[in-house]
Subunit: 321 residues, 2 copies
DNA sequence: TTGTACGCGTTATCAG
DNA sequence: CTGATAACGCGTACAA
């Protein structure tokens, strides 16, 4: 590996001169500087990140932690984060799995954005205590080094419920996310609130998992209990699709017997026939805002917790009874 | 930041003893070892990655380079890579954009997997010359430090073409990928080969871009020229969907007037009505194999170039004329 | 303008 | 078994 030492030797100068020249300092003659640069190029010199990081005590990298690389939601989200990060001279890397958690405390990255239920809150708080900057997208954590950028889950769930009720539905199945999911819990709170103030509406909870399988399982129960047209609010689109798949195997029709609404507006939702009703929000903006907040934290600014707004997408999967 | 020096001071031993204890060497009494470990925990000691990397000259991280985080193909692919990497004690990070290219030469990562047409081959060869290990999934490069794991594009394109011909089609539009795309070029080679040996088949090339917009544009031309049922082979599913969308706005029906086949078998393909015919391959296996090859390169083993096999998925988007 | 010397945190070598 | 010391590559205050 060629280091500044090698360049110094070849150029007949000291390593500090090389370092100055490489970093464009004006402490070096243009002549020697250009000579050094030429030699550096000739020797294929590349600075060593580890050495630089060790000295500068920062890496100019932010890490995003996801539960899994699969899932339609992530693409735009990451795109938004990357744009903002790059703009400010930071690189963005995506990590997944418990093994990579150590990257934050070991200072491989300068900060982290968390969208991974498997990343325990206690662990995050521990890192925050050590001075690491974190933005969470999937929970609420009160700590000066942690900022949260959350979806307006309550507004979204309320929109969905009120939409179904407005369409005249009196019996609504609600398929939840996995236990412990912040998004699921928030959405359920809103669901129950709407349910309580709508006395003539029967609300039946089915526990799900935010995956297709959860929707399929819920479908079983709904099919078994079916007497007359009902409404179903799946707390995310993925489950709505799973439920849809299972329903398709029966004589029941989505939008006619089963009136369905989801949450997330994933790409697939737009291609279902009839179109899946759902709750939409800008994933890219969400990512961008998260990155923005993290960078502010890193530069020592104070930041407010932000919220991402949501809207109703009226498809034909839920209609008037 | 607490370092081994702090621990050494507090424990009244030297830093080397601390290092040994921390790394579980048997050169230390159990007594001092456990004392040191206790102090380390008490002080919230976390080793510094930069210092370790600097010394050990490796990071135990492999990087994957993608053009863009969006795109359905990546999820399973990355999942496959991560599984294999983690199994061998490596972390996997996902990078995108030119800014992050430097991570390889700067030794932030031990090796790279490339699926990014924007990552120039000359650049890759330069890094390979410097001794860096690379696996490419989107081109052919002959270099001892570079291994390639490629799709069997020719087999796939041949399967698709022969399927359409077998169904009795005499006029086949082929929508290509962007210029310079290796996958597109390989698939086109096979298309032309089949076309040449099928004298009664007319083959019309339309240049695309592997994105929805390419399919939409191709649709315009096909609609304008439409006289009787024709077949279309979009060199990837994304374009097939784009084409589909545009066709849906006309009176023409997919599977009846326009007989369509794609390539990739993305999730959405399975949800189109009628189901999109396409070429399938295991994305997870592809990723796993890529990671495997990279790890072999890193451990100095010699590796053969591998190929990912493909199969035909018969949907109802292409039928007998 | 250039060179010297030290620090960053870890590991490895060599003495004791 | 333990300790002192020297790398690793880079950045920078300070001295020349």
């Amino acid at each position: 590996m060629v280091s500044i030492k090698d360049i110094a030797k070849k150029a007949g100068v000291s390593i500090s001169t090389v370092s100055y020249a490489l970093n464009g300092s004006n402490k070096v003659t243009d002549e020697t500087s250009s000579k050094i640069l030429a030699i550096a190029k000739e020797l294929n010199y590349v600075p060593n990140a580890a050495a630089r990081n060790l000295k500068k005590r920062e890496t100019k990298i932010v890490g995003v932690f996801l539960t899994d690389f699969r899932g339609d939601v992530y693409g735009d989200l990451l795109h938004g984060m990357k744009e903002i990060s790059n703009l400010q001279g930071y690189d963005l890397i995506v990590c997944s799995g418990e093994q990579s958690h150590k990257m934050l405390p070991e200072r491989m990255i300068d900060g982290a954005i968390i969208l991974d239920q498997m990343f325990a809150s206690e662990e995050l708080l521990k890192y925050a205590d050590l001075g690491h900057k974190i933005v969470v997208l999937d929970r609420e954590l009160d700590h000066p080094n942690i900022n949260q950028v959350l979806l307006d889950n309550k507004a979204g769930a309320t929109l969905a419920m009120e939409h179904l009720i407005e369409l005249g539905h009196k019996k609504i199945y609600v398929v939840t996310g996995p236990e412990g999911s912040y998004d699921s819990m928030q959405r359920m709170k809103a669901v129950r609130m709407v349910s309580e103030r709508s006395h003539d509406v029967e609300c039946i909870e089915i526990s799900g998992n935010f995956e297709k399988t959860g929707g399929e399982k819920a479908a079983e129960q709904i099919i078994a209990e079916y007497k007359e047209p009902v409404a179903v609010f799946c707390l995310n689109d993925e489950m709505a699709i799973g439920l849809w798949n299972r329903i398709s195997e029966t004589d029941l029709k989505i939008g006619e017997h089963i009136h369905l609404i989801g949450f997330d507006n994933i790409e697939l939702a737009g291609y279902m026939q009839p179109r899946l009703s759902t709750i939409n929000y800008s994933k890219q903006k969400w990512g961008a805002l998260a990155a923005e907040q993290l960078l502010k934290l890193l530069s020592g600014d104070t930041v407010e917790n932000e919220r991402i707004y949501v809207t109703l997408v009226r498809g034909e999967s839920a209609n008037r009874v």
